[in-house]
């Protein structure tokens, strides 16, 4: 028998906004459900190291899934006749549908980048549905620094330009093997998907006018961002934390925008204490 990793991958279908969607998930471990949301234009493979870490899976049922249109989850029927665009509403509906389909009871929800933004929306609107939220590279206010039209046009390879853009979001200290695995996921993304996700990340998902209303007594909020992140910078992370009273920010030195996939050994030094704190509270 091969030396199998502890990850199990499965498919199921769920309804979101009136459409049936075939979803791919990976999970490992048992205990408190920990739902993981990948970054824009990528997929759940980003969490493979967390899924294989006994220090996490001894206490948490870690579940990562590919968003519709991403990875091995299908786009909806008729996708060929429309442009993909992720809205705040659709993102929240998708995450809620996933948690309900799996009948998860007050999961911890951890997202990175766009995932790190949506968990803040969920903390605001459904504080009693989640044990805690962890925003990796997530902020309530961001600014675009390039025109996303470059990401989807016939005279530019969409996968290669997506990877080339985000390569600058990886810290120079991160191991080359994991840097290039992280980029590979971007190279494999479907046409226009990174661009469609950035609609939420850079435009529709702003809510710095409401983030101060998050009640961290009902739903604790953790913010962890990498020093080398050029979009969710340490400054934007601290500004978000200043607006969300009671939230706990951490700036991770020597890490970029993809902590769990670009430098898993360094990331676990920061995430394990957070997970321990969540596990030991309530």
């Amino acid at each position: 028998m091969p030396d199998y990793e502890p990850i199990t991958g499965r498919y199921f279908s769920m309804d979101v906004a009136g459409e049936s969607l075939r979803i791919y998930l990976e999970e490992a471990g048992s205990g408190i459900p920990l739902v993981c949301l990948h970054t824009a234009g990528s997929d759940c493979r980003q969490f493979r190291h967390l899924l294989c870490d006994p220090a996490v899976t001894d206490h948490f049922r870690v579940i990562a899934f590919d968003m519709p249109w991403h990875g091995k989850s299908n786009p909806p029927k008729g996708y060929q006749d429309r442009e993909y665009q992720l809205t705040t509403k659709l993102y929240k509906q998708t995450v809620n549908a996933f948690c309900q389909a799996l009948a998860l009871e007050r999961p911890v929800i951890m997202g990175c980048s766009m995932g790190g933004r949506v968990v803040l929306h969920l903390a605001l609107e459904q504080p009693d549905d989640f044990r805690a939220v962890i925003a990796l590279e997530g902020a309530d206010k961001l600014e675009a620094y390039y025109d996303t039209d470059w990401l989807h046009r016939p005279d530019i390879h969409g996968g290669e330009i997506a990877a080339a853009f985000v390569s600058g979001q990886i810290a120079p200290q991160s191991p080359g093997e994991y840097r290039h695995q992280t980029l590979w996921h971007y190279m494999q993304s479907g046409p226009g998907i990174f661009k469609g996700d950035l609609y939420f990340y850079w435009k529709d998902g702003h809510f710095d006018d409401r983030s101060a209303e998050i009640d961290t007594n009902r739903c604790p909020v953790y913010l962890l961002s990498g020093e080398y992140d050029s979009s969710c910078t340490p400054e934007r992370t601290r500004a978000t934390a200043a607006r969300i009273k009671g939230s706990k920010p951490t700036v991770m030195p020597g890490i970029g925008h993809f902590p769990m996939s670009e430098n898993p050994a360094l990331f676990r030094q920061h995430i394990l204490p957070v997970l321990d704190e969540i596990r030991n509270s309530r």
């Binding site: 470059w150 530019i156 330009i161 990877a163 080339a164 979001q169 120079p172 050029s230």
Partner: protein, 125 residues
């Protein structure tokens, strides 16, 4: 100092067979601005044929990438600091400017990023 560093680019790129191969369809000139000095970088089939100080306005290129001398100096460190570790981190931080026809840059973005960063390898030698 920076003018000396940019002159490392041809040797570093042309000795990197994979990088030259990735740029095999690129034939153009582009400008790199280091402070007030513009350099014209000539790319032929992925090789860097020349890097020359621009002396006349009629000497130009398809696009330009400009930053202050201290920004480039940090960019070329073996382990560059945040905001100066990548072309687009510099753009995001307002430390670099792009102009001209960006299409060939975007079509070959990782190639051009790697060309610009190639002096880091020399710094490690």
């Amino acid at each position: 100092m920076d003018a000396i560093v940019i002159e490392d680019i041809p040797q570093q790129v042309n000795a990197n067979a994979n990088l030259v191969w990735r740029g095999r369809r690129i034939d153009l000139d582009f400008l790199v601005g280091i402070g007030d000095a513009d350099f014209i970088v000539t790319v032929r089939h992925g090789r860097i044929e020349a890097i020359l100080l621009r002396r006349l306005p009629t000497q130009s290129g398809r696009f330009s990438i400009r930053a202050a001398a201290d920004v480039w100096a940090d960019f070329w460190l073996p382990v560059p600091p945040r905001d100066r570790h990548d072309l687009f981190s510099m753009v995001a931080a307002g430390l670099a400017e792009l102009d001209g026809d960006l299409l060939p840059l975007m079509q070959n973005l990782q190639y051009f990023k790697d060309v610009l960063a190639s002096p880091r390898a020399a710094a490690k030698d």
